[in-house]
Amino acid sequence: MSTENTGEPRRIGGFNTVELTAGVIVLITGIYVVIESLSYPFGSLQNVGPAVFPMLLGIILAALGLGIVFEGRIATTISPKIPYRAILAICAGLAAFAFLIDRAGAFISIFALVFLSGLAEKPFRPVPLLGVVVGLCLFITVLVLGFRGIVNISLLPGA
């Protein structure tokens, strides 16, 4: 992924920004895990409670976070251009499927999923996407009718 990116990596105070972000996120996750583990019973050394293992993991994780920050000074990582349009379209498609599948059945859900996620790419290609919808609808029909009782998905709204 990063092989196509050329140019100088961005740095803050000598730290590579990408590596710094990664390290800080890991560090914060570790600290959070430690804090969360404090709310569980500790038990004794013989009968270890549910808090001990998470606590150990949290401490190790926080230390590793610092390690990443330290190691990241020499890294030449560059963050690539983020395709916001594609991310938004794909997440919207998946979310629409999740929202519709119990309410409107498989056909409508597939239609929503394919067309919303199809927006990820420019140019938008309605005709090939319609082909995909028809293909997937045929597939799910065969699946549901062929495996009655195993695959429990309603095809049509209210069915």
Binding site: M1, E4, A22, V52, G67, I74, P83, I90, I101, V132
Partner: protein
């Protein structure tokens, strides 16, 4: 002659209609998934895993194993025809496979891949038949301290030996272990890291996490890297053009056997895996060759040794997974997770409690490899045509299968939303170059590591030194410490070199 009795039992399981069907479906779908551009083996297995939930445990694992080595094979096809490695494993295949394709010898390269893979796979199956039972015998004397130490060693080795920064690898293993904590604590009944949600009481679903992190995030990554190659290569798939001639047989005999051997040795180690096996055996062949300059320009020996090694390593990875219950790679962790979902506790006991499953799986390896050989030589033409499917039609369909898989597991739309969350997380991790595979390993092994940790302390009456006073456990931990020290040293050396370079530049 116990081995023969066992294999006989294995074949009687694997030749049943249901297992044969599972094996056939597995290798075919696996190859299909492997050939598809932009879908790696891990994504493929996570996608297809829900398919196996309705099957008997033996059939399920036979099918998943089939998907695994089928996708390895399919990945090579994409590597040869498109110079597009579907996974790291097939990166070495590109080196000589793609030049061969450009010289019009694509058919021959594909056929050689199939043959070399077959030999490599067979070698490791033999090894597994011979070595799994004695390994199991040793593992049966293990107690909780040994298991805990072995898990730690396995996780450390797997995360530091793989590509990229070892610190990041280990961090992701630990994050995986934390994810493994989510849900009800088995020993005390306390709900941990559930944020008050009932959906999380059963823990994070392996399928949902894998589909998000390897399925959705891979699609997002493909959008980041912009260019999608589709093949326009014409391939001569006539028998005559594909089948290696006498001289080629002779020159590849050595590379294939050395590749198989090296692959198996490396494949048993946790973390090293098929990619490193392919790299090592490729460079060995290059060094042994009288004409090393041909390597990289379409040397059939290089292709053959890399393919033999990566398939041999892929099969050998089953040895620790099935006999010790410790997976060496994320793919193996997925298979292990699938076994757990089916109620089979993987580890040394499987061979006793479920001998049909164990020997049936080994027998199915033979059948699967043979199926790949028979299926693929005539089907190469079809796989070639599949590479022409444009990505803009492919990715909405992949998304649909992800939804279908996530939803059908519990008929709960929440799971699809969780897939989105893990997909975004996986993509974010890719951007920050945090590897996702170790996370999966941690997730699967986490509950086991904690259980053994607590049980060991309980049995030793709270004596924390038990991990270093037991000789086997101490030895395993010592190896882990050596790995950590070696990693630290090479990291510090890189830091020093960097400083020297930057002072020279100034």
């Amino acid at each position: 002659m116990e081995l023969f009795d066992n294999m006989f039992m294995g074949f009687s399981v694997a030749i049943s209609w249901s297992s044969l069907w599972a094996c056939f479906v597995g290798v075919t779908l696996g190859t299909f998934i492997g050939v598809l551009p932009g879908v790696g083996a891990l994504a493929g297995i996570s996608l297809l895993m829900p398919l196996t939930f309705g099957l008997a445990p033996t059939d399920a694992i036979v099918m998943l194993a089939g998907i695994y080595y089928g996708s390895m094979y399919g990945g090579s096809t994409a590597a040869i025809l498109l110079n597009l490695p579907g996974s790291v494993t097939s990166a070495v295949t590109c080196l000589d496979g793609y030049p061969m394709a450009r010289q019009g010898k694509a058919g021959k390269a594909l056929a050689m891949t199939t043959l070399a893979s077959f030999f490599g796979g067979c070698f490791s199956i033999l090894l597994m038949m011979a070595f799994a039972p004695p390994l199991v015998a040793i593992a049966q004397s293990f107690g909780s301290p040994e298991y805990f130490s072995m898990t730690i060693l396995g996780l450390l080795a797997a995360s530091t030996l793989s590509q990229g920064s070892p610190v990041k690898g280990v961090s992701m293993v630990v994050v995986g272990l934390v994810f493994g904590l989510v849900g009800t604590d088995i020993q005390s009944g306390v709900a941990r890291f559930t944020f008050g949600s009932n959906q999380l009481l059963d823990g994070i679903s392996l399928v949902v996490l894998a589909m998000g992190m390897f399925g959705v995030s891979e699609i997002l990554v493909n959008f980041t890297s912009a260019e999608f190659a589709t093949s326009r290569q014409k391939v001569d798939t006539s028998w005559k053009a594909m089948w290696p001639n006498k001289a080629e047989w002779k020159s590849t005999r050595g590379p294939i056997s050395r590749g198989s051997f090296l692959g198996a040795m490396i494949g048993i180690l946790p973390g090293a895996g098929a990619a490193i096996a392919a790299f090592v055996s490729y460079s060995v062949e290059k060094r042994l060759s009288k004409t090393p300059e041909r390597f990289g320009n379409g040397a059939i020996e290089g292709l053959a040794s890399a393919e033999a090694a990566n398939n041999s390593a892929a099969q050998a990875a089953f040895i620790p997974t099935m006999s010790l219950g410790i997976p060496g790679s994320a793919t193996m962790a997925l298979l292990l997770g699938a076994l757990l979902i089916h109620g089979v506790q993987p580890g040394p006991l499987v061979i006793q409690t479920d001998p049909e499953l164990f020997w049936g799986l080994i027998a199915s390896f033979w059948i699967g490899n043979l199926l790949l050989l028979i299926l693929n030589l005539p089907l190469i033409g079809i796989w070639v045509r599949m590479l022409m499917i444009p990505y803009h039609l492919l990715y909405p369909s992949i998304l649909f299968f992800i939804c279908l898989g996530a939803y059908s597991a519990r008929n709960n739309p929440i799971d699809i939303l969780l897939v989105i969350v893990f997909g975004l997380m996986g993509y974010g991790m890719k951007l920050l170059q945090l590897p996702a595979a170790p996370l999966l390993l941690g997730l699967v092994l986490g509950p086991m590591a904690e259980e053994h940790f607590r049980r060991a302390l309980l049995l030793s009456r709270g004596d924390a030194t038990v991990f270093i006073t037991q000789p086997i456990s101490a030895g395993l931990l010592a190896v882990a410490v050596v790995i950590v020290i070696m990693t630290l040293r090479s990291s510090l050396r890189r830091q020093r070199n960097f400083k020297q370079e930057s002072t020279q530049n100034q």
